[in-house]
């Protein structure tokens, strides 16, 4: 395997709140390889967004605080870079696509001027005409119709799907090698989601960027990701190839998530929810944070006392799980359905 383009190690992020310290991200680590799509999946509060955004310096400090860890991108630790150097990287070799384009686009500037600015900011000396021409090319690439006319429109004149296209155009303007997409389709209707998925694929073909896809949508992960990081209560609890992860998950939480899904393509007699509620991140459960909801633990003491390490499986060692009893799980435990 080629050398990773981004390496995160031992990342811990906390937030100071009135109620106490929120342990949002704890000891997170993964590698991103060139050209791959890495899915980061989890439910609300799992730390999936914070873990990635803190690396980009996009978590507000205070209340946020990066306690430890490193994020190596092109031999530089992003967590130790001065603000201006990080700004050069963001929107340049590392670009972002957010859930709600309306909050990331400036409402009083035209779409075109914002994309042009992204180009000239990272390529000083580009003349205005060249930047505008490139902007129109980019809008065409992401499927904005009548790009030459729409380049001079304002964000409010774009529909949600079109705004998301414009965001993607801006993100790929400087030929990034890493694209971070945080819930890129969540705010959109399903037929528009499908369009944006195609645009993302086209953007990747164009730039060959590696994509970090942060989402709660397991369908989107199954469709787009090469490898997957599953997070729960701020920690990575399973990591592996997308096929291995869906077809033979090795963590009871991943198994539980898949079993709790209603399926579009199969009738299930009954959904199998994960019992209980998500944990508090101020006073997380001892040992494995999932143990109070875990059907595999069966009250075994080690689950309450020891935080399980992320351990490798199989010959390749690519599939890893943070469960003391991961060996007890096998693919038979995922029940897709098709009962009628």
């Amino acid at each position: 395997m080629p050398e990773p383009i981004l390496t995160i190690r031992d990342l811990t992020v906390e937030f100071d709140t009135e109620d106490g310290v929120v342990h949002a991200v704890t000891d997170v680590g993964w590698d991103l390889h060139p050209g791959e799509v890495l899915g980061v999946v989890g439910e609300s509060g799992s730390g999936k967004s914070v873990s990635v955004l803190s690396v980009l310096g996009l978590v507000p400090v205070p209340p946020g605080r990066v306690v430890s860890g490193e994020a190596i991108f092109r031999r530089e630790d992003l967590l130790k870079l001065p603000r201006d150097r990080l700004q050069e990287i963001r929107g340049g070799p590392m670009a972002m696509i957010f859930q709600d384009p309306m909050t990331s686009l400036n409402p009083v500037l035209t779409i075109g001027s914002q994309i042009s600015e992204a180009i000239t900011a990272h390529n000083p000396g580009t003349n205005r005409n060249a930047a505008r021409k490139r902007t129109i090319e980019l809008l065409e690439l992401v499927g904005v119709p009548f790009a030459e006319r729409r380049v001079d429109q304002f964000p409010h004149e774009f529909s949600g799907g079109m705004r998301q296209r414009a965001m993607i155009a801006m993100a790929i303007a400087n030929d990034p090698s890493v694209l971070v997409a945080d819930e890129p389709t969540t705010a959109l209707d399903v037929t528009i989601q499908a369009q944006i998925v195609e645009v993302l694929k086209a953007a990747q073909r164009e730039t060959h960027a590696a994509i970090v896809l942060i989402t709660h949508d397991l369908g989107l992960i199954a469709e787009l990701a090469d490898r997957v990081v599953v997070m729960y209560a701020g920690r990575v609890i399973e990591l592996g190839d997308v096929f291995a992860l869906f077809n033979s998950p090795r963590h009871p939480y991943t198994v539980g998530l898949l079993n709790s899904l209603a399926r579009l393509d199969a009738d299930k007699e009954r959904l199998e929810p994960i019992p209980g509620q998500p944990p508090s991140l101020i006073t997380p459960p001892s040992g494995c944070a999932f143990h109070p909801r875990c059907v595999q633990s069966q009250g075994r003491e080690i689950c309450r006392t020891d935080v399980p390490k992320l351990r490798a499986f199989g010959e390749s060692g690519d599939h890893r799980s943070a469960c003391h009893f991961a060996e007890e799980l096998d693919s038979a435990q995922v029940r897709v359905g098709a009962t009628s």
Partner: protein, 370 residues
């Protein structure tokens, strides 16, 4: 039961079949668009624009569609939370269309609603006991110790503990709040509940808990549900029958099997093909229909068939003649399309479709099947 007779229209109010609990006929709800200093009306948002539907006692009718299709307005109009512009609402053989607020009160005992957002729909200053007891009090049914016991029973019914009664909504997670909303809706022992996106604000693992709770309550209490949602997977799981809406109209209605296994309307087919399925094994093996463009404005819907501007099958006739929601050749459930035919977007193709099939620009390819 015959599916054709099932869902649709045209039958006069008196000939209601015995198992019917709710029927809407030609239901219309337009919202005026106001402009200018004097706020005169410059147009109409045609949120619900002529809907005929029947709901049978004890069933779950799912209503799906994308934002702006009118599904939420449909639910609220049925509840008379907004006044219908035209059409009729018949609940338990009684025309409730023109009933005033006060006259609606007894109807509300039998017809309740649960809202989407468990964070916004519960009064933050009321305790859980007050929230659940409120409908009982309004109807003069809350009496001392008996009332308290009823509230505690309701909390147990929805999987909460009676000790929760003295707490406030903010002390609960999203899933628990939705349980409180369900307890309140059940307080008056309704026969039918309109569920407006009841699980879409919840995380997946919690969604399943609430979906199972709703199923269990339906079984135990014999409830009828109108289940409004945009999540096609959840709707498949909960529904006996499903109505698909687009721009204020029902475009297709049928049993769960008919809608998911043999859909006939191009929009239904496109919707089903667009939802990502939680299995990487399906990659590249599904028929993909990527619709071009956005949903047109409900203030100015296209002439004829409203879906025609995004439809790959559209012909002359689609612009001139609005297709009726009737059973069409090749199927036995009502579809509003001149060119309706069965396509199965959820069965895997034997061969990998070429990339061009999912191109994002230009006309989507009409997917043919082996």
């Amino acid at each position: 039961m015959s599916e054709a007779q099932a869902a649709v229209a045209a039958t006069p109010a008196m000939s209601a079949s015995d198992d019917e609990i709710l029927r809407v006929e030609g239901l219309v709800k337009h919202f005026p668009i106001k402009a200018g200093v004097f706020k005169h009306t410059v147009g109409q948002i045609r949120a619900v624009d002529g809907i005929d539907l029947t709901v049978r006692t004890g069933e779950t009718l799912g209503v799906v569609g994308e934002s702006g299709c009118g599904k939420t307005t449909l639910g609220r109009t049925i509840m008379k939370l907004v006044e219908p512009t035209a059409g009729r609402i018949i609940f338990e053989r009684r025309d409730i269309t023109t009933l005033k607020r006060r006259q609606m009160r007894p109807v509300r005992r039998d017809l309740q609603i649960v809202f989407q957002d468990p964070y916004a729909s519960l009064n933050p200053r009321m305790t859980v006991r007050e929230i659940v007891a409120e409908p009982l009090r309004i109807h003069g049914l809350y009496h001392g110790g008996e009332g308290r016991r009823r509230v505690e029973d309701l909390l147990r019914t929805v999987g909460l503990s009676p000790e929760h009664a003295n707490r406030f909504p903010h002390e609960f997670s999203g899933g628990q709040r939705q349980r409180i909303g369900v307890a309140r809706a059940l307080a008056l022992k309704p026969k039918m509940v309109v569920l407006d996106e009841p699980v879409s604000a919840l995380d997946v693992s919690i969604q399943a808990q609430v979906v199972n709770l709703l199923a269990q309550l339906q079984k135990e209490l014999g409830l009828t549900y109108l289940f409004i949602a945009h999540d096609l997977s959840v709707v498949r799981h909960v529904s006996d029958r499903v109505a698909v809406m687009y721009l204020g109209k029902v475009v297709e209605v049928g049993t769960r099997k008919q809608i998911y296994e043999a859909p006939m309307h191009p929009y239904t087919q496109a919707l089903l093909s667009a939802v990502p399925i939680e299995s990487p094994d399906h990659r590249g093996k599904r028929t993909r229909i990527v619709l071009k463009g956005d949903v047109p404005s409900p203030a100015n819907p296209p002439s004829g068939c409203r879906f025609r501007t995004r439809c790959w099958k559209a012909q002359e006739i689609c612009a001139h003649e609005e297709p009726a929601l009737v059973p069409r050749a090749g199927g036995d459930h009502p579809v509003a399309c001149h060119f309706a035919e069965v396509m199965r977007p959820l069965s895997l193709a034997e061969t990998t479709p070429p990339d061009s099939r999912s191109a994002n620009s230009g006309n989507p390819v009409s997917p043919e099947r082996a």
